[in-house]
Amino acid sequence: MNEGAELVLNGLAKSFGAVAAVQGVSLAVQRGEFVSLLGPSGCGKTTTLRMIAGFLMPDAGQVLLRGRDITALPPYRRDVGLLFQNYALFPHMTVRGNIGFGPRMQRRGRREIGDRVRWALDLVQMGGFAERFPHELSGGQQQRVAIARVLAAGASMLLLDEPFSNLDARLRSRMQEEVRELQLRLGIATMHVTHDQDEAMAMSDRIVIMNAGRVEQIGAPAAVYGAPASVFVAEFMGRCNRLEGVVSRAPCGLGWNLALGEAGQVPLGNAIADPRPGARIAVFIRPEHLRLAPAGATQGAGVLRGEVRRVVYLGSRSAAYVTLAGNTGLLVHLPNDPGSEGPGELTGPVDIQPLPGAVMMVAAGS
């Protein structure tokens, strides 16, 4: 799988004193692929990025760029372009000076430096700003210049260190789209560090979820969201309902249910691979995979009973806070139809039914 990969990390490890920041991270980024390292602060994602960029020396493991071992190379011989969180534009240089810095360090000719600067400025649509100084630009413009600077240096791979976190929400999503489109157009392999799962899903071909210095799961956005490999991934990738109950045989016929006592039953469908009747297990259901109906309106055994405490209108959807018998809380996301004011009439006792395939089994203990 690592044949022809742009970047391969092989068992990277790094400790700071007694703190093991990164513990054996292995992964590969394919040519032209956009991979996000996603995790909470302190999970080791930034440490990993800094080891790739050469600012930290790993205690163990290797960094391979196009098959070449660059683990011991200094930062200035690595050929990976890093986009900094605060952009790190040189304040004493103009936009032109900043963007031309990379080619200048590569000792390119005057004409080639000029061509590169123009090319990079056009890519980020900042053609008219060459003579400005960084402090004369807005945050979004500084970001574009920083992108142009990295691209003009001609690195074979891009590293993004939470570059959107200083932008306001609207500008952030626009820059995410622009960077992703630019990345696709140039076909440049990119590794992106973020703690924002929405950003990771919006931009990535694959997501690497990290926790406490280790890789929890690697997969496409749909895979890590829909089939999380661990409790941590399930809960980090989005809101999640955790239901604990006892495995029991469905009353009439085939299949298995999860019995939650008075609250009712949840059909486990195909989710359970190794059913053991009587075992106590936990399953996870995303809030948007549940449906509500007035109490008693639903036939069959695979139904939970509860009471709607509160409904919040959120624009694209509404959130209903439901309490099950036995006092388990449940969050349900309901689509808002056009013209409706949300399912505000749904109060009091309700039936809750998971959509088919909604139940996610997650290996315990991880």
Partner: protein, 280 residues
Amino acid sequence: MAAWDMKARGIGGALLVAYVVLFFVYLESPLVFILLASFNKGLTVRFPPSGFSLQWYSALWDLVREVPGVKPGLVDAVVTSIWLGLASTAGALIAGTLAGFALYRLRFPGRQALRQLFLLPLLFPQIVTGIGLVLWFSRIGGVPTWLRLLLGHLILTLPYVVVTVTASLETLDVRLEEAAMNLGAGRVATFFLITVPGIRSGLMAGAIFAWLTSFSNFTVTFFLFSGEVQPLPPWLYQIMQYFIDPSIAALSTCVLLITLAVLLIMNRLLALGRLVGLSQ
């Protein structure tokens, strides 16, 4: 707005203003006194001045041409002081920047203690430094006067540069240097193209302190100068033993102007690294 504020503060505000004015007058009184004395008509300085005259400046002109019994002359002393100031500033900038960079960037045990040690010469009584240097140089022997003066003044000027450079290194964003290296700049290129411009204000402050310290130093200089190489402060001291009249005041005014001129030139020179007049 300001007037309204004053009114609102009433008598407290008035007292504050009076205090600030008095304080300022006290601080600047030697300067004012010298200016008044240099333009005074009589031989003694009176307040209010007894009349305006440039006679002491023309008397100064005679001093410039020839001072009976004192060699070298005033022009030599001024030139010596300016060069000594510039040389010790340049030396302190280079050595102090490297030391400051090492103190800031290298992590080694005892780093903080060493940093305090660098400041020690500022705390020594200068007379101790002066005597120590005289003893040392007479033990070694054969050190030319200009080198003795330069080495002595470096001890006085280095701490200022180390202090100002480490202070501005601490506010410099390390990511700028990382970005430069990421773009292919080696460590030397990064230092000169990113670090040095980034600590420019610290270098400027250090240079100004260093030059002023060297130019105006009397105590240590007094122990190190010799007949043929005389910086201005000991030269003035000797002159005053012969003449004590307001031409000394006229000379002091001129020294003040020279100091200001050199400071302005240094400010301009060090700002050149920025290409444009951006102040940070």
